[in-house]
Symmetry: none
Subunit: 190 residues, 4 copies
DNA sequence: TATGAATGAGTGTTCATTCAT
DNA sequence: CATGAATGAACACTCATTCAT
């Protein structure tokens, strides 16, 4: 039930964004009454926050699966690969708030109870970089979180323009561009 | 008058975002009546679009002044420098839509008449990269627009987290991180 | 509920006319919230159209009951009688749009979805005349719809001035005047 | 100037009706400023009232010219003729408030300062009938004002439906129908 | 528990009217 | 006198939230 609502909410929020999404539409799609939604979620805001968390969790899981056991260099590649794929697969959602991913602007993190979540998300994923630095694969003077945000922001931004049709690139080109440019910049020697 | 309204609108939209901003609040701040706003702008949407265009234009101007006459490598540095400074100076605005910069998500570009604008903006600034490639300073296999978006997205993302206090970096660190990582990746030899 | 709203709307529209009637006033009178009105009627326009249709239907019903089984001559008398009585009984409504009856001006019939309605209404009631012509009670060269409109317009007009106190006549005088003048003009022999 | 405004007002009110007419549009058409309109007319209401009076006056003049020196029977014919012609010529105006003619409903006579006017208008034109009664051409038991209103209401109503295309009659048919039906009813002997 | 009808606060927009120039 | 920019009251309509059943 809660899950069914979350899925409907994900669909509607993805298509309409927070303000244009109607609770009644979500209820209809979830095949429950409006009242029922309010039994599980205190407010539209809370529901929205949960949708974002859910998506980020999915992505986090996919990323973790992808980088598991890999050395930092390969892990970075796997991360970039996974994120671009995830973006493509979840284009609808992505266009509205996947940008939230590494770049949570737009959404008032406080309002949706996401601040803590974001912090942890960034911290967790920047461990990849940290480990690379420890292993002296990556340069030692780098700020791990900064590097992670650099990569995720670059990816999100290029991919947004690609999805909107503003630039003409293939998903693979995006991956390669980011990897080529960034890896050389962070690897200890080349 | 038109200018006074635009400034008030900038302030209110920056603080509240499109949906939470109230026309009556903008009128109050601009010290004009609600009706007067509608003499100059057909709708809330149009006003919002104008605010964004104005800011982007300001930033574009600053960037152009900064990179004028410079060689590509120096131009990139100047670009990064200018953008980070602009972000700091215009933090309020930036938090809501300066992300729009290189990453127009969030905002429905069509709705606010910005699509064309975005396209041109990206095209114009990616000329820096193009020139660098022509002069064989940058690698020849790079997609200029992709590289520009990579840089602007990276900057916006890192700086957003910095401004929100989610990560602990100085503006200068942001600049240096981006330049160090990216330049190495795009320069023709290292 | 829908009925309660319609009754309140009838009252307010009758007193104020379309433009001066306020939805909030109708809601107050119907003892429902504004939102509830919009559950049943898409817009003020629609509500207004429904009020008119309802009244016309009532009158149509009364007229049909009155003329049922009667020969054309008696039917005309019954029609005139019924209409004048209805006007007196529903003076409030009548003053604003019962004129619509045979004379739909004022109201933009398209806007309120009434065109089709009006056409049918006239067609149906002019059957009385038609039958009289067939039975050779009325003159054969008469346009039935024209005669019906002649009678309904004459009635509405005289009665309006009477109700407004502009002329000094009793309801019965109105009936007799119209019948005396018109019947002689339409009967086959005198 | 006052005249120019009145003409523009007539045009706009005729096309739009009172509520949908904009003062600014009238000013534009009259090629004066909005402020100037308010120098001559205290309010939109007053301007509207003046437009109606002007039109009625025109029609009154035409009618008087047409019936001048004629015997009652011919005068009635001339009246019917003039009114139907006037309606055709001034169709735009007529559709909105010429109905006001004999049937002032719709318009709140008080609000537009028309009550007195209407009364006089009816009184003046019903003199035709009165004279006919005095001369024993028309039946003596008729209420003159009632007969006048009967004729004007009949005419307005039939002609409205004709102009709207709801019934298929020629202007001449309308005249003849009304004359044939009514004259027989009011003439002393036939 | 689930429902969904009812609520009513909230806001963009219009336009008659005013008044400083 | 004439102008037309500025005013701001007014109102239809929406939709998150509640609560009686």
């Amino acid at each position: 039930m809660k899950e069914k609502i979350l899925e409907a909410a994900e669909k509607v929020f993805s298509e309409k964004g927070f303000y244009e999404a109607k609770i009644s539409k979500i209820a209809e799609l979830a095949d429950v009454s409006v009242g029922t939604i309010y039994r599980f979620y205190k407010s539209k805001e809370e529901l929205y926050g949960e949708v974002i968390k859910k998506k980020l969790l999915e992505m986090e899981k996919e990323v973790e699966r992808a980088i598991e056991g890999k050395e930092p260099l390969e892990a970075i590649k796997a991360y970039v690969n996974t994120v671009v794929n995830f973006f493509s697969k979840e284009q609808d959602f992505f266009e509205i708030f996947m940008m939230e991913l590494g770049s949570s602007f737009v959404i008032d993190a406080e309002r949706f109870n996401l601040s803590e979540w974001y912090r942890n998300y960034v911290k967790k994923l920047s461990k990849i970089i940290e480990k690379g630095i420890e292993k002296e694969i990556f340069k030692s003077n780098l700020n791990p979180e900064g590097v992670f945000l650099l990569i995720s922001g670059a990816l999100a931004n290029i991919d947004y323009f690609r999805l909107k049709g503003f630039i003409d690139m293939e998903p693979n080109e995006v991956k390669n561009l980011v990897l080529e440019v960034v890896l050389r910049g962070i690897l200890n020697r080349n």
